[in-house]
């Protein structure tokens, strides 16, 4: 039983991690594409349209990858988490079905029209299709976050005698206090990823002295979107989410912040340190006193419950992984703000395009927003443990009762192999598109 749950979790973690590489780019990128297209409509300057068309190509590759890796996600609820599906399908099936029906359809239909139909439709309609792609992809995020919010903080339901969760109030699924902060945080974080991608391609063109005019546009747009979004990710949305965790999942809050012992006169904020699970303390700790209490409750001396206040079975089952995920996310987020501030400063001084070390840094930073987004999701998912539905349904109670660990390991290995191939091809294709670069369309 133990190793069965382990392989089920590992397979879900692997497939969702790989999947989420793609939607986090497409959601943010669709916004930037709409911006480019809108600028073109306003100014009629060709380079804006080139940029929109070019990034829609990148978008399309990512969307394809998102679709083919996303279908297995939907199916895995049934294949690997049958008991969970059976018990909660009446509720989360609603939001997942709505995602498929409203947003996924919208996105895929209008993406095809955006790519193939520019001449056919004219510029205004072309802008509209781009906007609908954006709407579809953000609606998709909304429904997925609504599903996850219900698992983090279940609302609007009733539990029957047979253990089934039954929907009592549909609208509460969308007025869940967990949902809006999580959604905004997630969406702005995805804008950070795409802003870095846009800026990084721009920096690459400038450094290679190729497609210079486009390169400068990409870099400028990327750093402006990058600064705004990375600030919004930290404040107010990041702050808001942390307060929600402290309120609704205090055990997870203690674990992610690395507070082993409760301190009466205000909690310190840990910057660096390694959780030592044997001695129940942080090794090599660097911390600043009282800051955490202030950030969470605007009160320097407010007491925050440490892990010593909770029973072992209420605490997340992998505290070090949760702690590291959280600190990596926050640390990277801080670095992003710093680098983008620097870039904006030089943009303002009109020197951005000539400072080579900064251009190299922007170009090579591109994997890190992906890491920050993924570790952010690890915080949410590891923090919810040991539950699937927080406080009510344990992860161990959700697995498929008839699928043995040998079969799960078999399929996990298959997914690993297939996704490695997929990842390789993806890089090849994106590399080719970037190499070809944006070309003005002949009219």
């Amino acid at each position: 039983m133990e190793d069965m749950i382990f392989y089920d979790r590992l397979q879900f973690a692997f497939t969702i991690t790989f999947h989420y590489i793609f939607p986090q780019l497409t959601m943010g990128l669709s916004l930037i594409i709409v911006f480019f297209k809108w600028k073109f409509l306003r100014t009629k300057i060709q380079k804006y349209n080139d940029a929109a068309i070019f990034f829609m190509k990148i978008f399309a590759i990512n969307f394809t990858m998102g679709v083919v890796t996303g279908i297995p996600m939907e199916f895995q609820f049934g294949t690997n988490w049958a008991k969970f599906s059976e018990l909660t399908g009446g509720i989360i099936g609603q939001t997942l079905a709505m995602e498929g029906m409203f947003s996924f359809f919208l996105e895929s239909s209008f993406l095809a029209l955006f790519i193939f139909g520019e001449k056919l439709m004219g510029q205004k309609l072309h802008f509209l299709t781009g906007f609908l792609v954006f709407l579809g992809s953000w609606a998709s995020g909304w429904f997925i976050l609504a599903t996850n919010a219900w698992m983090q903080h279940p609302v609007g339901f009733e539990i029957l005698d047979n253990g089934k969760f039954v929907l009592k109030n549909f609208s509460e699924l969308f007025s869940n206090p967990w949902l809006i902060p999580a959604f905004l945080h997630n969406q702005f974080a995805s804008v950070v990823t795409s802003a870095f991608v846009v800026a990084s391609i721009g920096a690459f063109y400038i450094l290679r002295n190729k497609n210079l005019e486009h390169g400068k546009l990409f870099l400028k747009t990327g750093v402006i979107f990058g600064l705004i979004s990375s600030l919004l990710v930290a404040f107010p949305t990041g702050d808001w989410n942390a307060k929600n965790v402290a309120k609704y999942q205090p055990a997870s809050f203690a674990a992610m912040e690395g507070i082993f012992e409760t301190e009466n006169a205000g909690a310190e904020i840990v910057l660096i340190g390694q959780p030592n699970m044997v001695e129940k303390k942080l090794d090599n700790k660097i911390a600043v006193p009282n800051i955490l209490s202030f950030l969470t409750y605007q009160d320097w001396n407010k007491q925050i419950a440490g892990m010593d206040q909770f029973k072992k079975e209420e605490l997340p089952d992998n505290i070090p992984a949760l702690y590291y995920s959280y600190h990596i996310m926050v640390g990277l987020g801080t670095i992003f703000i710093g680098i983008m501030l620097l870039a904006i400063f030089f943009l303002w001084r009109k020197k951005l395009y000539t400072i080579k070390p900064l251009l190299w840094a922007i170009m090579f930073l591109v994997p890190f927003p992906y890491i920050a987004n993924l570790t952010g999701w690890y915080v949410a998912e590891l923090g919810r443990q040991p539950y699937l539905v927080y406080g009510l349904l344990k992860t161990s109670e959700g697995v498929s009762p008839t699928v043995s660990s040998g079969n799960t390991l078999f399929t996990l290995l298959g997914f690993v192999a297939l996704y490695m191939l997929l990842g390789l091809l993806f890089l090849l294709l994106v590399g080719k598109t970037i190499h070809q670069g944006p070309k003005p369309i002949k009219h």
Binding site: E74, G89, L106, S108
Partner: protein, 357 residues
């Protein structure tokens, strides 16, 4: 409400098999009949243009099944664990074949993706047929041995095959001789459907030849259909009772037969759209007849201890179903609008269009 969702899901699934069915069929034809590079490219394009918007119907069906019949979703998806995951792999593999083939113009590169696209299309058609065969045959729900259930009454697990390879054994696997026959029927049906699609959408040089191919495959299908109905009586002697008790259900087999016999006259059919409609009827008729023969059962139990799964004992609670009814109607209308808009904008032969993909 259960009935409403059952019909909607069956409809969406049927649309999926019609749309992605021609994609799979195109792959099969591509594998066996496309010889020249020009034809290969245009046929791959005929499939590649729409595959993702066709597959959203599968996602929609999956989501609605999850919402409306969670117990069925949980039981069937975990019970058919291995074949389902293999289908997922094939879907991924097929899609990358389609997307990557045109990216580089080396013969080595295109030929490997051509093969992967063709073979995974063939295997997908086979697996979908086998899946239908399994649903029709039923499974040992609860894994009953000597009158005792080893699992909860609605759970089961099927290996890919068991040594007897027979649908009549106590624990039949996913693949036995009966489900394999249904699988072959699916391959032949979708090959016909793919061929009518290629004739409709392309001006490739094999179009004339495909007329003969369609005719021959239809003869094969006719023989297989008769044969499968006979052996079905061995596997499940009551399989036709539903049609005797509710004679109006006979409409579904009639749809199938119209498609089948219509296609026998393929040589006389002038318009390509007519032959495409006939192969569409074939698919819709085939799926709906199979479902109608079971209704309201959706997964028969092969043992006497545990009851078959029906749309009533696996459905979600009524409040959830009625709420979903409200947004479901809007959703379905939107889906149809997107679908019509998209197909209208993309009508005509593919090789004459300048999509610059």
């Amino acid at each position: 409400m259960e009935l409403f969702w059952y019909i909607i899901i069956a409809l969406v699934l049927a649309i999926f098999f019609v749309l992605d069915g021609y994609d799979f069929g195109t792959g099969i034809i591509h594998l066996f009949y496309a010889k020249e590079e020009k034809d290969k490219r245009v046929i791959a394009k005929a499939a590649g243009l729409f595959w993702d918007s066709n597959e959203v119907w599968l996602v929609a069906a999956g989501g609605m099944l999850f919402m409306a019949f969670p117990t069925f979703y949980a039981s069937v998806f975990s019970g058919f664990y291995l074949p389902l995951i293999i289908v997922l792999w094939l879907i991924v593999f097929r899609a990358i074949g389609l997307e990557f083939r045109s990216q580089f113009n080396y013969t080595m590169w295109t030929s490997i993706w051509d093969k992967s696209f063709g073979v995974s299309s063939l295997l997908l058609a086979l697996f979908f047929g086998i899946a239908l065969g399994n649903i029709v045959r039923g499974v040992n729900l609860g894994r009953v041995e000597e009158g005792k259930s080893l699992y909860e009454a609605h759970y089961f697990f099927l290996p890919l095959w068991d040594s007897s390879f027979s649908p009549l054994s106590e624990h039949p696997g996913v693949i036995d001789w009966f489900t394999l026959i249904i699988g072959v029927i699916a391959v032949v049906t979708l090959a016909i459907h793919g061929a009518t699609w290629i004739r409709l959408k392309t001006a490739s040089s094999i179009n004339e030849k495909l007329k003969k191919v369609i005719f021959n495959l239809t003869i094969v299908l006719l023989v297989l259909t008769v044969f499968s109905i006979v052996v079905w009586q061995i596997v499940n002697p009551n399989s036709l009772n539903n049609f005797l008790e509710k004679p109006y259900l006979i409409i579904f087999p009639i749809i199938y037969l119209i498609g089948l016999f219509g296609l026998l006259f393929i040589k006389k059919i002038k318009k390509d759209s007519h032959s495409f409609i006939l192969s569409t009827l074939l698919i819709i008729g085939g799926i709906t007849s199979s479902l109608a023969s079971l209704f309201p059962v959706i997964l028969p139990s092969t043992n006497a201890t545990n009851k078959s799964l029906t749309i009533y004992n696996t459905a979600a609670e009524s409040y959830g179903l009625s709420v979903a009814f409200n947004w479901g109607i809007i959703g379905i209308v939107l889906l149809l609008i997107y679908f019509i808009v998209q197909k209208r904008l993309m009508k005509g032969k593919i090789d004459k269009m300048d999509y610059g993909h």
